[in-house]
Amino acid sequence: MSQGALDRETLAGLADVLIPAADGMPAASEAGATREWLDEVLRVREDLESPLRGLLERARGADPAGEVERLEREEPEAFEALSTAVAGAYFLNPEVRGLIGYPGQEARPIEPEDPPDYERDGLLASVVERGPIFRPTPESRTG
């Protein structure tokens, strides 16, 4: 993979249209989503490189906002590759994950409760009190 050939300047323009700086959050390019974290994305998602390279060639010199709008409208597959790569890279950045309060898919063992909360506080009681809600097997089929 010839990373050096990727037009990161053009990519940064597009990426910051998708994820701009706002609400205390960095823009995509500020967060490394077009540099080191993008490299990480392309390491595990080689399939994204070719469409990314293609759309960057077509976008060179164009107005980034207009180009993002055009891609979304006319080239949905290319837009999907761009948005996946950029957002995927953005969310790999630990600082971004910290800012949005997302620690990853953590291992949180189930704490056995006896009795479980829905029995302790009676949450299930009204369902039980209402009784069966199914239609029984007709007598003609019970043999």
């Binding site: 249209v17 998708l18 994820i19 701009p20 706002a22 609400d23 205390g24 959050m25 990480e40 994305v41 595990v44 998602r45 399939d47 993002v68 979304e72 948005s83 996946t84 957002a87 995927g88 969310f91 790999l92 630990p94 994950r97 949005i100 309060g101 997302y102 990853g104 898919q105 953590e106 291992a107 949180r108 063992p109 189930i110 056995p112 409760e113 479980p116 909360d117 829905y118 949450l123 299930l124 009204s126 369902v127 039980v128 209402r130 009784g131 069966p132 809600i133 199914f134 239609r135 029984p136 097997t137 007709p138 003609s140 089929r141 019970t142 043999g143």
Partner: protein
């Protein structure tokens, strides 16, 4: 090697249950599986790149995945794309583990609602088999759900309700609607080969933690220890048919394309609702066991919808089980005043991590996050959302079908499958009704906004009905015990046999039916016809 007593094609759930029970009774069993063992080294749930990578190796669509066990499926004339895992474990490797028994009415749809067909058995007849496979499988849940006849429940306590489940449960209590702690094929404590769930909510892309009861974990290692011969990368090209009409095993190709013949006095197809009819249509010069003309027809795929609620409360809804925390069967039974017959099941699920918050599904392309409002919208969704997954019963129609693809072939030159399926008017009305009720559910639970997902085609996890079971050879492919009417030593034990689809996730019933079929085959062994 001497020939086995029984040849099984397919190492998914029905093949697993069948092989286990046969081996327990001393049968010598060989299983041909076209795919390989799943590589859990590629289950990335604990890693930061999980959301980026999970849809690659673990993709549900074989046309996307193109794994070693996959064959092409032409879906250009289908409203729904068939999803599957072609390898040891079958669909259970990537299923959501929703373990739903069918309800009593599912077995008598014709009698009760005047549509479809009755099954040749009742809920009460199948109930003991549910209980047994739930123990074998490793299922968690709570007995005496009011949507089912009372009786013995699963062996493990249910997964926690989670904050989202408690909210919605309270709302349903206020509405007077059914809910229940959901049944899942997920271990909530150490259980046989399973470890307790750690609630990463990544069940749909293989469980990296060994807690989801997929049969590659719960059945196949024990089956092979018990003498079952499991041959992977064995792609069956056709079943062998003798001059007297009996089946004499199968011809298959190994990973290198070398041809092999595996003979057996009894052959059982467990290759799913597309793979099984495909094999029958590939055999005997244009169709085996097809005097009814129904092989491949009556395909049912369960139209699927989701409704997502947005909440102020932090629910950490990227965690939990996926899986379902609670389920509701409030609107499962027919009420003709609604403008359709039959119903749907709801399962309450997480919504995923941050990358999932940016996808067109289930959020809708019109609600795209990109641009100025990106961070605000992400914060609205991430951790603050809960989703009802809605599985709608579709009725059997002969125009919905699986055929051989006249053009596409797999890597070994075997014709692929072609699926023709139209989402019916009844199904569309049903889904629209259920989506409206699901919106009411989430709003009552405190959601300040609800989003109905756009219809997408990539939801065909449940592939049913293509070798209908029944008493009459003119209107069914197999008899009530899974034996083909036309060929007395050929059986179908998978979901192909379903006369109607129910509105439930089907694995529980596929497993229970496979056990029931198998025990009947064992009981009838002295009368079994076979070559030699």
């Amino acid at each position: 090697m001497p020939d086995p007593d029984v040849l099984i094609v397919g190492a998914g759930p029905s093949g697993a249950v069948t092989a286990k029970r046969l081996a327990e009774d001393g049968f010598k069993v060989t299983v041909l599986e076209q795919g390989d063992w799943p590589d859990y080294g590629r289950a990335r749930a604990p890693h930061p790149d999980y959301e980026l990578t999970s849809g690659q190796y673990w993709a549900w669509d074989p046309n996307v995945r193109r794994g070693p066990g996959d064959y092409p499926i032409d879906e250009s004339e289908s409203d729904i794309i068939a999803l599957m895992w072609n390898g040891v474990g079958g669909g259970t490797v990537v299923f959501a583990a929703h373990w739903q028994r069918n309800m009593p009415s599912d077995f008598c749809v014709r009698t009760l609602d005047g549509v479809g067909d009755d099954w040749p058995l009742s809920y009460e007849e199948l109930e003991p088999y549910y209980v047994r496979v739930e123990r074998d499988w490793g299922v968690s849940g709570l007995a005496n759900d009011t949507a089912f006849p009372p009786g013995e429940g699963p062996p493990m306590a249910p997964v926690p309700l989670a904050p989202m489940g408690r909210r919605v449960a309270r709302a349903h209590n206020e509405l007077g609607w059914h809910w229940w702690p959901a049944p899942n094929a997920i271990a909530t404590r150490s259980y046989g080969a399973l470890k307790p769930c750690v609630q990463r909510a990544t069940c749909l892309w293989a469980c990296a933690d060994g807690a989801k009861a997929s049969v590659d974990r719960t059945y196949w290692p024990a089956n092979t220890s018990n003498g079952v011969e499991l041959i992977t990368r064995a792609r069956v090209r056709r079943l062998l048919v003798r001059a007297d009409g009996l089946v004499d095993g199968a011809e298959y190709l190994d990973a290198d394309g070398r041809e092999h013949v595996q003979r057996a006095p009894v052959t059982i197809l467990c290759a799913n609702g597309i793979g099984t009819p495909r094999l029958l249509l590939l055999s005997d010069d244009g169709g085996l066991a097809n005097s009814s003309g129904l092989v491949g027809k009556r395909l049912m795929l369960h139209p699927f919808g989701t409704v997502t609620g947005l909440f102020d409360e932090q629910l950490e809804s990227w965690q939990g089980v996926w899986g379902q925390h609670i389920h509701s069967l409030e609107f499962y039974e027919t009420d003709e005043a609604r403008g359709f017959v039959r119903g749907a099941k709801w399962g309450l699920q997480p919504t995923g991590g941050p990358l999932s918050m940016t996808r067109p599904y289930p959020w809708g392309a019109e609600n795209a996050v990109w641009g100025e409002g990106f961070h605000r919208e992400l914060r609205r969704r991430l951790g603050h959302s809960a989703m009802w997954g809605i599985i709608a019963e579709d009725l059997p129609e002969e125009s919905n079908l699986v055929a051989l693809d006249p053009e596409a072939r797999d890597d070994y030159g075997i014709p692929g499958a072609k699926v023709v399926y139209t989402n019916s008017e009844n199904s569309q009305r049903m889904m629209a009704f259920h989506q409206e009720r699901a919106k009411e559910s989430l709003l009552a639970a405190g959601a300040y906004d609800v989003i109905v997902a756009p219809f997408i085609d990539a939801t065909g996890w449940h592939i049913l009905g293509t070798c209908k079971m029944g008493d009459d050879p003119a209107s069914s492919v197999v008899d009530p015990w899974g034996r083909t009417h036309d060929v007395p030593n050929l059986y179908v034990f998978d979901g192909s046999t379903w006369p109607t689809s129910s509105g439930m996730n089907p694995t529980a019933t596929i497993a229970a039916m496979a056990l029931r079929f198998t025990e009947h085959l064992i009981e009838q062994r002295r009368d079994q016809k076979g070559p030699g």
